[in-house]
């Protein structure tokens, strides 16, 4: 299935009118059983949903008696004769192939001074296209269309620069995290650069995550090559279910299997922590809310946290952590400080 699975989380993130339009658009190709169920639940949930759905359905139906209409006949002829825009270089056979997914994550609290990598720069001699800046605000997850037909879901408080040249497509992740749905094109590899590393999609579905103290690449399925931006060297290749972990310049590859799916849980508003420090976890939580978790006590900051949390709910995160680690919370305006119990 090429199209993205619809979940109640993605649905509730949409404006009702957009959700209604999406249901009508998908209905044209046939709704799956789970989409039908989602639609029924969604319609029952709110009178407004029912109203906007009726409007969208009405718009669809208004072309029912269009046969023979002169203007629409001319519009149809024009549409049938439409060709790709000049910048699109996909061959049709490739365009019809399965869409690839690539995710890259970079934590906001990544401190350049602490790691040995060179400052991020575009690949030498690579992209000739004009740079396009993408950014999202705190608490805002954006789905963006890239000029090559790929799409990028930009996580909260993130920034990236895209360059789409004739022989290479590059997205430089400057801050935060993003999930890419990459259009396959053998003549123009799709590379994501972050923290001096280049992750190249080679017809595959995989997930990459750049954490506080280094880079983590998780392959969900297919094939990726990880190389250095600056120094030419033999790239590291991953098998599905494998994870490439780089900490302070030291790289290891481990097998994690199905847990690789956790790496893209943020799309559904969920965040996974795996034996990370509380300081790291708090910094991630803080990307999704104006209520900020604050930790001043180094002993608290170095506590470890594992588990799945809901993005945008720092109160619950603080409460859970307090219970787990015998802490208490001190609330000041939009700050929630975690301190040790006396």
């Amino acid at each position: 299935m090429v199209r993205e699975a619809l979940t109640s989380e993605t649905l509730s993130a949409l404006e009702p009118a957009d959700a209604a339009a999406l249901f009508i658009a998908r209905r044209a190709e046939g709704l799956t059983a789970s989409e039908q169920q989602l639609l029924a639940d969604w319609l029952a949930r709110d009178e407004l949903h029912r109203r906007v759905f009726d409007n969208a359905n009405h718009a669809w139906q208004s072309f029912e008696e269009s046969e023979g209409d002169e203007i629409l006949v001319a519009m149809r002829a024009h549409a049938k004769a439409s060709r790709p825009r000049a910048f699109a270089t996909w061959r049709p056979a490739v365009a019809a192939a399965a869409v690839l997914v690539l995710a890259v994550g970079a934590a906001l609290f990544f401190i350049p001074a602490l790691h040995p990598w060179a400052p991020q720069s575009p690949l030498p001699g690579s992209a000739s296209g004009a740079p396009i800046q993408y950014a999202s605000a705190r608490g805002e997850v954006k789905e963006l269309q890239l000029p090559d037909g790929s799409s990028m879901m930009l996580d909260a408080d993130s920034a990236a620069v895209g360059r789409f040249g004739a022989d290479r497509r590059t997205v430089e992740l400057q801050r935060g995290r993003a999930l890419f749905t990459v259009m396959p094109d053998r003549s123009r590899p799709f590379a994501v650069t972050a923290a001096g590393r280049s992750i190249v999609a080679v017809g595959t579905r995989f997930d990459v995550n750049l954490a506080a103290d280094g880079l983590t690449v998780t392959l969900v399925e297919g094939h990726v090559e990880i190389g250095s931006v600056d120094t030419p060297s033999a790239p590291v290749t991953l098998e599905p279910g494998q994870q490439y972990v780089e900490r302070l310049g030291k790289a290891t590859v481990r097998t994690i299997g199905a847990a690789s799916e956790n790496a893209i849980a943020w799309r559904a508003g969920l965040i996974n922590f795996e034996d990370q420090t509380l300081a790291e976890a708090a910094a991630v939580m803080n990307r999704y809310s104006d209520d900020q978790i604050v930790i001043r006590d180094p002993a608290v900051a170095s506590l470890r946290v594992s588990g799945q949390f809901r993005a945008g709910d720092p109160q619950r995160f603080a409460a859970t952590l307090s219970e787990m680690h015998k802490l208490r919370t001190v609330r000041r305006a939009n700050q929630i400080e975690l301190v040790q119990q006396e």
Binding site: D18, A21, L22, A28, S66, A74, H78, A79, W90, S151
Partner: protein, 177 residues
């Protein structure tokens, strides 16, 4: 559809076979231009401009938009004719000269809902409109549309969502007013 005026003869086969819009345009131009070959071109030009429209300005009603397009096609031909000093024989009858005095008949009769939907469709970006038409009126699958336009299937779906959203807002506005 308004009846042709007494004595008016449709010489062009195009006008004979055409629907109300082509007939109306043919008559509109015939009153202003004395060259049948040119008239046929100008009618085609009106259609070509309409289907290629790529502007975000809303179209209040389709009648007005057809009229406006016809008058700009005419204006361009007049300019072209005068700058070359030959070719067109433009005859602006004194009582027809000026925007207020153009044909009082409506171009389109009936099918109000469809015409409102067409007007809403014409105020979409050209590419979004093309995707919607290929799916809704040509019945093409998303993957075939994606292949034709060399965009991703998810980009096709986004165009569809945008089009349906726009159409439902515009048609709802119209019903409300």
């Amino acid at each position: 559809m308004a009846k042709p005026e007494a004595g008016e003869v449709y010489r062009s086969t195009l006008a004979e076979e055409a629907g109300p819009v082509r007939r109306w345009l043919t008559r509109y131009f015939r009153r202003r231009v004395r060259n049948d070959a040119e008239i046929e071109d100008m009618v085609q030009d009106v259609f070509a401009r309409m289907v290629a429209r790529d502007g975000p300005e809303p179209i209040q009603n389709l009648d007005g938009y057809i009229l406006k397009t016809a008058s700009s096609v005419l204006a361009d031909r007049v300019r072209l004719g005068s700058s070359h000093g030959a070719g067109l024989h433009v005859a602006f009858d004194s009582e027809l000269h000026g925007e207020e005095e153009i044909d009082p008949e409506r171009v389109l009769v009936g099918k109000e809902e469809l015409h409102a939907a067409t007007a809403a469709l014409l105020s979409l970006p050209e590419r979004t409109r093309t995707v919607f038409i290929l799916r809704r009126l040509e019945g093409q699958r998303y993957r075939d549309i994606a292949a034709q336009l060399r965009i991703s299937v998810s980009a096709v779906e986004k165009h569809m969502v945008r089009a349906i959203h726009h159409l439902s807002v515009e048609l709802e506005k119209r019903r409300g007013s």
